[in-house]
Symmetry: C2
Subunit: 150 residues, 2 copies
């Protein structure tokens, strides 16, 4: 039994979640390195897979990134034939973004490796907690996406 257990306040949520996020990212970095992908590169590939995106600004918004920040990422991915940018015929200012088959393959295999590593993290949880944890995480993550970040 803990000596001062009664006085111990619970740790702040952020104080647990932020370092956990960092540790997860650090754990995934070797996978990305092995495929020559940056974190943002992978995020972009993932976001394009789920929903076809019609403008770079929309893509940036979807992944909570600055629109200027993803440009070099897109340049790199395009130069490696993982995605294509072509002007929208209806509005030639906009760029239609789509994954190439190769981009899709890369995204899938990286995601598989990453999620396999994540499984080993989830393996630390009690079986009864695991599903509940993922459900809660989805709920909070959705709430976070909706919360207005100035």
């Amino acid at each position: 039994m803990n000596a001062a257990a009664e006085d111990e306040p619970r740790p702040d949520l952020a104080a647990m979640i932020v370092p956990l996020g960092r540790a997860l990212m650090a754990d995934e970095q070797p996978v990305l390195d092995a495929h020559g992908l940056s974190m943002w590169g992978y995020v972009v590939l993932s976001a394009l897979g789920e929903t076809p995106v019609r403008t770079q600004a929309a893509l940036a918004a979807a992944i909570n990134a600055d629109k200027t920040r993803i440009i070099t990422v897109l340049d790199d991915l395009e130069s490696r034939d993982l995605l294509v940018r072509r002007p929208d015929p209806k509005d030639r200012r906009a760029r239609l973004l789509s994954l190439t088959p190769e981009g899709r393959r890369l995204r899938d295999s990286v995601r598989d490796e990453i999620q396999r590593r994540e499984e080993s993290w989830l393996g630390r949880l009690a079986d009864a907690d695991r599903e509940s944890f993922l459900r809660s995480l989805r709920t909070l993550s959705d709430a976070a996406r909706r919360s207005p970040e100035p």
Copy 2:
């Protein structure tokens, strides 16, 4: 029911956790601002409260920060009489760190406000999930602290 639910892979853990951490921090920033505290300042006050720390290096390690990074933070907190640094008589290289009563008071009131805000996040969870979520989060957070970050 979701159209393509069967094909939909679960989002990466990191892709949910990292933005959630950012949103929590953004949500807490106004509280810190109101008390003139930086995020690291608050982290230091919190860490000092829980366990008395005998060296700055130990403190830095405890909060997963670079030892050089907390120095200006300590300077600021000390100048505001929230903590004191005094040379350890047994090893005058080391600085014994302790909160002043004022530092303790500030830490407590900021923590109360922050945790009150966090409660409104947790309020989104199903009652049955809440306890499980916090337990799982503690488990993973502990694991993250142990994981060796190069």
